[in-house]
Symmetry: C2
């Protein structure tokens, strides 16, 4: 038996999210179907984590076990021919049996894109969220200071998240602005359900002046979802990297 690690990218637009669901087009379903066909045995993958419906990935990681004798590094080329164009595997290699795509993951990096303009932009709209009110970069940066670090992020998780332990280590939030486009880069050991999108939604509320930057500390400590900002659209979010 060989354990194989794959790295892959997908455009989230036409999937019902990542996780296997009966009769739905999910990333996991499509990957398992193609790998099963290629390797001639029933393949189940374990990914670094789920992504919400509509979220894309420039680099997502998974592992699976196989008895097939196919050369591991060839799997990516062979399986891509069986995959739809909106998921493609760009790396495959044999790893030790200790490697676990989820438990071995040390860091995840997400990117959220916002364009700040009173007008819709047909080019940006496909991959960014439009915010009409002027965003104040400095205020948003002040707010990030309260969020960075090891905290209970209950206030920034969907109520549907049933995990009891909501402590996560948010290593960094960077915000860059260029010609009205704001790039939010969040790096953490793991994220709760909807956590990236609720944090960005809260930072946007700070940026447009609806929330005082210092209040973000209170929101965090309240552990109450209702005090944080809104859940922003998934289409502007991309999983950029998973580090081991």
């Amino acid at each position: 038996m060989n354990r194989i690690k794959i790295e892959f990218a997908y455009d989230g637009e036409k999937f019902y999210g990542f996780q296997s669901l009966p009769d739905k087009r999910t990333v996991q379903n499509e990957l398992e179907k193609a790998l099963t066909k290629l390797l001639g045995e029933d393949i189940k993958i374990v990914a670094s984590g789920r992504t919400d419906a509509g979220v894309s990935a420039l680099k997502q990681v998974a592992h699976f076990d196989t008895n097939s004798s196919i050369i591991a590094t060839n799997i990516c080329f062979a399986v891509n021919k069986l995959l739809p164009k909106d998921i493609q595997v760009f790396s495959s290699k044999k790893v030790s049996d200790n490697f676990h795509a989820r438990f071995s993951a040390k860091l995840k990096v997400y990117k959220y894109l916002v364009y700040n303009s009173v007008h819709l932009n047909p080019v940006y709209e496909k991959s960014m969220l439009q915010v009409s009110k002027k965003l104040d970069l400095e205020k948003m940066k002040i707010a990030t200071r309260f969020l960075i670090g090891k905290h209970d992020f209950s206030a920034f998780a969907s109520k549907d998240d049933e995990r009891k332990n909501c402590i996560r280590d948010l290593k960094n939030i960077e915000i860059y602005e260029n010609n009205g486009i704001f790039e939010f880069i969040l790096t953490g050991n793991a994220f709760l359900y909807n956590m990236v999108r609720i944090i960005v939604g809260t930072l946007i509320d700070v940026g447009v002046g609806n929330i005082d930057p210092k209040k973000v500390d209170n929101i965090l400590k309240s552990k109450e979802r209702k005090f944080a900002g809104k859940l922003v659209s998934a289409h502007a979010l991309t999983l950029v990297d998973v580090k081991y």
Copy 2:
């Protein structure tokens, strides 16, 4: 009568190009239809130039004349409600009768995006061209030196271009690389039909080693389309700016 200058953006994907064509969905048709409806008179626009089918614009410029008494700066907000989401006007203002969107234009800036990878990438694919063979940035930069300047660009124009004068002033070509993504920025006073895409196609041929960088000078001087590289896909090209 007032002359109005509008600045607008469009996603080229679902248009049969820019120019008015009977019974086709073109950018010009959609804009004229919406402006005609808004202003209650037959509006014809004059743009800075056409863009090929499939090409997007972050900033395209046009002018038109109207007898309407609507406040010029309000036109963009009002017309956007009548436009499809893939064209949106982001600025409208009254200009002098001497202003001409095409003849007054001094510079146009185009951006072409390439990702250099043996694998397709579902996220990048929507707005970039995939090139499998490794691109040599330095070789491409050497080739650009022969193209920058005032030249007869017949070798880099579609044979369908019927203009007799093929002399254009190509002010600059910049190429940036970042994590396998190559951004080609071309700035010129005007461009021939397909010129940007044939230049980028030729630079890619140089980058992958099919054409010696110094041969680009011979190609230019030959004035023969057949010696230049191939016409690359329109979907990765964006008109970024028009300067007056």
